[in-house]
């Protein structure tokens, strides 16, 4: 099984390289990548060898800039936190430190994780390393770039709708968001708490399993974290017995006749999917179509918007500049808070917060927010019913490859709403969900997503690994491995 982390560790063990050489090389590549893609908010000039003899000793990585890191600037790519230096460590960061992993920098993201473009950071656009006229996807844009470009073997992201899995698809890498609660959220800057997940971006399924094995676990600082001490992802991948698997796709999404003007990209993506289905069958993985209520499918995006905006309105209320964040001169405290928020939030955030506030308003709450929570249940229950018959759901991640940075070049169509937003289902249900690259459309990588039932992470990873092997995707930017 391919693994950049294992290869690095083997190189260390065989003394083919020293950590110092790796660090120098990594920082050099990182600076190049920063020039090209604007992947980092903070990039260290220098890193120290780790004395922790853990499972990831001296493995370099990058962390999305919404994880609290003591003594290291952490901005969530927002002007409201442009000078914020946390005083405590996120559990994920702590666990990686304990495992000996070496952080090289904090990656650029969509401000606070809202938005899926990588274009809303306070430090500017993030560019796709495969085509710099394209978006990297978001919100874990920088994390996707640095992994795709081969700067680091893994990066940590966060995923509320598809924020790990979408940029992974656009950058041709693996993006994995485990079951909700598997990884502690302590120290992850909240966007929509009931849907926020920590996720990893890697170039292989095996590496994703390795990293999650290290960072998962019950955390006394997060009441929604769960004990998974009996779950061993790498071990289960290695010992997989290649039993037949059954996956389903949603017919209503994969029916080309449902799209009034299907683009070439869409047709090519669908045809890739068809080829995959055929090949998978030979390898013992059956992929069949299942029907899903179209009412529910059409409501996914609205439900997502409604719930995330509402929770974000509350979660971002601590941004007042009283205790942290750049403070504006003012005569009274209200004026001061207002000046900070007005100046600090981007237009997009402001608009989302207003929507959140609107759907939570007493008169509207039942109609919008509570009903959205109800739709969430209906969708999750429908998925669970299907999971009783199938190992997982498989679907393309998007219409095609990465979108243009110049939004005017992107064709938008209401038809695509479901296809472009379906991965939020994984967040509604807290389902384990992984995206792997499955080929190229017009020269750009596209991904497929596999989502399984809660706590069935081992199974989802096994399926992903089998498909990965079958697809044999070659990363155009990283030739050295395998």
């Amino acid at each position: 099984m391919k693994s950049a982390i294992k290869k690095l560790q083997e190189d260390y063990a065989a003394h083919r390289v020293t950590p110092l050489q790796v660090f120098q090389d990594t920082l050099l590549k990182a600076r190049e990548n920063q020039e090209k893609c604007n992947s980092f908010v903070t990039l260290f000039d220098h890193v120290e060898e780790s004395s922790q003899r853990g499972d990831l000793q001296n493995v370099v990585y990058a962390l999305k800039d919404n994880f609290s890191t003591k003594g290291i600037l952490t901005t969530a790519s927002s002007n409201t936190l442009s000078n914020y230096v946390p005083v405590y460590d996120a559990t994920v960061y702590q666990k990686l430190k304990d495992a000996g992993a070496v952080l090289i920098g904090k990656t650029t993201m969509d401000e606070f994780g809202l938005g899926g473009t990588g274009l809303t950071a306070h430090t500017g656009y993030v560019f796709n390393p495969l085509d710099t006229t394209r978006q990297a996807g978001g919100s874990s844009a920088g994390s996707a770039c640095v992994v795709s470009s081969g700067v680091v073997p893994f990066a940590i992201g966060s995923d509320t709708g598809d924020s790990v899995r979408k940029p992974a698809a656009y950058c041709g890498i693996v993006g994995y968001k485990p079951t909700y609660g598997l990884i502690s959220r302590y120290g992850l800057f909240a966007f929509a708490s009931s849907m926020d997940h920590v996720g990893v971006l890697t170039r292989s399924v095996y590496d994703a399993a390795m990293v999650v094995d290290v960072i998962k676990g019950k955390d006394e600082k997060d009441m929604t974290s769960i004990d998974s001490s009996s779950m061993h992802l790498v071990e289960s991948l290695v010992h997989a017995n290649h039993q037949p698997k059954k996956l389903f796709y949603i017919k209503e999404i994969m029916d080309i006749t449902k799209y009034s003007k299907p683009s070439d990209e869409l047709k090519m993506t669908f045809s890739l999917f068809e080829q995959l289905t055929k090949k998978a069958k030979e390898k013992g993985i059956s992929i069949v179509g299942e029907s899903f209520d179209e009412d529910l499918l059409r409501a996914i995006a609205s439900t997502y918007t409604c719930l995330t905006c509402a929770e974000a309105t509350s979660n971002l209320s601590n941004l007042t500049s009283i205790l942290f964040g750049p403070q504006e001169e003012a005569n009274d405290v209200n004026e001061m808070m207002m000046a900070h928020r007005t100046k600090g939030f981007s237009s997009l955030i402001k608009r989302r917060l207003i929507i959140g506030s609107y759907v939570l308003q007493k008169e509207n709450q039942e109609k919008y927010f509570i009903n959205a929570q109800r739709v969430r249940r209906l969708i999750v229950e429908k998925m669970n019913a299907l999971f009783s018959k199938y190992d997982g759901l498989i679907l393309p991640c998007s219409e095609g490859g990465a979108k243009y940075i110049d939004e005017s070049k992107n064709h938008t169509s209401d038809d695509l709403r479901i296809l472009e937003n379906h991965m939020a289902i994984g967040n509604f249900g807290g389902f384990p969900s992984i995206t792997i690259p499955c080929g190229f459309v017009k020269g750009l990588p596209v991904g497929i997503n596999i989502t399984g039932k809660v706590l069935d992470d081992c199974n989802v990873l096994e399926i992903a690994a089998r498909l990965e092997e079958m697809i044999a995707y070659q990363n155009p930017l990283v030739k050295e491995e395998m």
């Binding site: 995006a301 439900t303 750049p326």
Partner: protein, 98 residues
Amino acid sequence: MNFTKELVDDFALKLLIGLREEENQMVLDEFEEIEHHMDLICQIPNISSVEPMTHPPVLFDETLREDDFVEEMPVEDVLCNAAHKNLSSVIVPKVVKE
């Protein structure tokens, strides 16, 4: 609900956010679309009889934290990011009593 410029500003004000003219307009422009999509939610049959889902349906550990172990941060850490402080307190321009 008929969304007006004034209403948008009122919402923004309550969020302690000021909107520029064009930002206000953007909200108004977006709103129609958003409301249309929101309405999709309400059209789901028998929606009102469904129990709202507030957390992902994961079996969480229900053991509560024992009230013994103390963990506090040094006062320097409390204050280190604050723009204005005096002795060991954070200070802000005087809060006007309602």
